[in-house]
């Protein structure tokens, strides 16, 4: 299907998007879906650092065969509107893992939009998203989980935490669960808060300077998103990309 026109904020999946940036990007970019098929029993892991000074929209459709696994780990540190969208379909016993971090200041919006369809029984999915923003920066997570009527023993989890370093920054989270089966586990949680001032003072009282204290606390906060990533070098790359974006953030 080709989009004839740009979406509007009335479209649920675009409700927090930066419409001005989308107009600059143009409709054609929205039609560019990547398709990834993971065959039965196979597994795939993708690591991505996304973000530049221009709008970026990355749309990926992932289809997982029986018992297949796919893991996506993304640092989204856009300097302009940056959207990463994942549509995932899980066959029987498949697993989808997603760890995502949005981080940044300025006035840019960065977002993750996921739609995870548990089409068949016994599939599992786990999504951990962390958002760290300052200035008037925004981080969004729109996460939809659909469980088909016969997809019994589905186990789906979604966890979002936002950390706002100053007033003016924002985080929006929209969990949507559509469950038609009756023997499933679907967990979701969402919180938004500020930096732990007690922990920051504790660190400073031991000699850690304010910027390092902030970096350590942010590192601990976003670390959850990459905790299931076994490859230490890749994990370090994703963390470093996020933490280098933090330089220049308000202390």
């Amino acid at each position: 299907m080709t989009l004839a026109t740009l979406p509007t904020r009335r479209d649920e999946a675009w409700r927090y998007a930066d419409m001005g940036a989308l107009a600059r990007l143009g409709v054609a970019a929205l039609d560019a879906w990547q398709a990834i098929d993971v065959a039965a029993g196979e597994s795939l892991t993708r690591y991505m650092v996304i973000g530049s000074d221009a709008p970026e929209v990355l749309r990926i459709r992932v289809s997982l065969g029986e018992g297949a696994r796919a893991a996506f780990f993304v640092t989204n540190r856009g300097g302009d509107y940056t959207r990463v969208e994942l549509e995932v379909r899980l066959a029987k016993g498949a697993h989808f893992e997603f760890g995502g971090v949005t981080i940044g200041g300025g006035d840019a919006t960065r977002e993750f939009v996921t739609q995870v369809v548990h089409a068949e029984p016994e599939a599992t999915s786990n999504q951990t998203i962390r958002a760290v923003h300052w200035d008037t920066g925004t981080g969004n997570f729109l996460g939809e989980i659909k469980v088909a009527r016969h997809a019994q023993k589905t186990d789906a989890a979604q966890d979002f935490k936002g950390l706002l370093l100053e007033a003016g920054a924002s985080a929006n989270v929209v969990p949507q669960l559509q469950i038609f089966a009756d023997d499933v586990k679907c967990a979701h949680g969402a919180t938004v808060g500020e930096l732990d001032e007690a922990a920051r003072f504790y660190m400073m009282a031991r000699g850690v300077d304010p910027a390092t204290a902030q970096r350590l606390l942010v590192q601990a906060f976003i670390g959850d998103a990459f905790v299931s990533l076994d490859d230490e070098a890749e994990r370090a790359t994703l963390l470093d990309a996020a933490l280098s974006a933090l330089e220049g953030a308000r202390l």
């Binding site: 922990a199 003072f201 504790y202 660190m203 400073m204 031991r206 850690v208 300077d209 350590l216 590192q219």
Partner: protein
């Protein structure tokens, strides 16, 4: 080493310290006792530079510097250690990472070379041993899942690693059983009992002072030091209570 002169401080709009003066020279362990609400923890927090504590008058000189003009991390680099009454949990950050960052930040600000990972671990192991703490605990997240006593022992391990010139210890004995109290007290002696170091030891109880023998004891009440004496003052308090001393 530490000279507090006519210190006034408020929390919110409430004045807590009301003209507190105290001098602790190098080589002295000075115990501060006093009833609840006297301002003991406020004194510790003001010395550490905790946000929310406003100094409204007076001065604090520390090793020739205006302590109150320094940020908390600069106070640490200048040689001040604040032992917390309630040590803070920091999920996601290991003790080893935290303390190495802290020590190297202090060394950097003093113009010293940073310690390598290996050198740091050797030092940490030695100090943990002093406090009879398993190195495995230091690899865990800062204070997360530690019992009250373990947190206080970990504070002393931190003090040992950072090796400050002066320690302000805020009720380091609270929450300790008898054995842990002896270990912590012996740790304070080992780390801080020195002619060129000083300690301000805030406590409610004589039992810590049986292990860490103070050179001086002051009573803090109503936001000021109302009496200073030798160790016998603490014994008198233990026997007679604050009313008799302050009457």
């Amino acid at each position: 080493m530490l000279t507090i002169t006519d210190l006034h401080a408020s929390v919110g709009d409430k004045p807590i310290l009301k003209g507190l003066s105290l001098h602790v020279p190098a080589g002295e362990i000075h115990a501060i006792m006093g009833p609840n609400g006297a301002g003991k923890s406020t004194l510790a927090n003001v010395l550490g530079g905790k946000p929310g504590y406003e100094v409204t008058g007076g001065s604090v000189a520390f090793r020739g510097q205006d302590l109150l003009a320094l940020d908390p991390h600069e106070r640490a680099a200048a040689g001040l250690f604040l032992g917390f009454q309630y040590p803070v949990e920091i999920p996601g950050v290991s003790n080893v990472q935290f303390l190495r960052e802290a020590l190297n930040a202090q060394r950097k600000s003093r113009g010293e070379e940073p310690l390598s990972g290996g050198e740091f671990l050797k030092l940490a192991k030695e100090k943990a041993g002093l406090l009879k703490m398993d190195m495995e605990m230091l690899k865990r997240q800062v204070n997360v899942g530690f019992s009250g006593g373990e947190k206080k022992r970990a504070e002393m391990v931190q003090m040992g690693i950072l090796d400050p010139a002066f320690a302000v210890l805020d009720e380091t004995d609270s929450g300790l059983d008898i054995d842990a109290l002896r270990i912590v007290g012996a740790g304070i002696n080992a780390i801080m009992r020195s002619p060129d170091k000083g300690v301000l030891l805030i406590t409610h109880y004589q039992r810590l002072l049986d292990v860490v023998r103070p050179d001086k004891v002051s009573i803090l009440a109503g936001g000021r030091i109302v009496e200073t004496g030798g160790p016998e003052l603490a014994l008198r308090l233990e026997a007679e209570g604050y009313d008799s001393v302050m009457a």
